[in-house]
Symmetry: C2
């Protein structure tokens, strides 16, 4: 199977698939003409990778997760550990963004937004009151 079909089936850009090969996440075979020759197992793995990335796992997380996925003697605790660490990261990012949102939405709603220059948003950015 050529990269185009894999790209469609795994719903990943060809560029991304080539990149994943470059960093050793997938190892497709090669045809005599130099084209990558993907097996079903490669497609399966790429789908796995796509889903993990969509959940925000880093590439290194993905590397660890696929290793566990392929290890029939894995302990589910190892998988859960990676996932719950990632959950903590997500929670931290959400909290960060919510703090930004709170500050900024107050500022936006207090700004007249007309053609006059007075602007509480700029005033607040100017203040050293961190």
């Amino acid at each position: 199977m050529n990269i185009g079909e894999v790209s469609t089936r795994a719903d990943l850009p060809a560029k991304t698939i080539r990149y994943y090969e470059e960093i050793g996440l997938v190892k497709p075979l090669r045809d005599t003409n130099g084209y990558r020759a993907f097996r079903e197992s490669d497609v399966h793995k790429l789908v796995f990778l796509g889903r993990a990335r969509a959940l925000g796992f880093t590439i290194e997380d993905c590397r660890a997760l696929t290793a566990l996925w392929e290890d029939k003697a894995r302990a589910s605790a190892d998988v859960r550990s990676i996932a719950s660490d990632h959950l903590i990261q997500i929670e931290a990012k959400i909290a960060d963004l919510q703090a930004m949102h709170e500050t900024l939405s107050h500022l936006v709603s207090s700004c007249a937004g007309d053609d006059r220059p007075d602007c509480p948003i700029l005033q607040s950015l100017e203040k050293v009151t961190r």
Copy 2:
């Protein structure tokens, strides 16, 4: 004023300040020995930049915001527009992260996390059910 003092006063790494000069956000003078010579107005601007960056504005947003900040004839609508666009970006990111969080927290809580290999997290990543 040398970069070290500015770094302390604006609470920004010296590297960051040099970078901001490189991309034209600040334009400190130079001493005869080649050292950057910052004025009070430069420090003031760097504090402004630091606060805007802390609220998640991009560098290009910051460039626009400082231009407005220094334009005494600005319309507050222009500032508000940048800020509310940014709010929308923040809201989108929060929504994304919350969706990830929801999916992943269900998975984590359904995984035994012991030494057995059965793992709903891996099973779910494997499925093509996008």
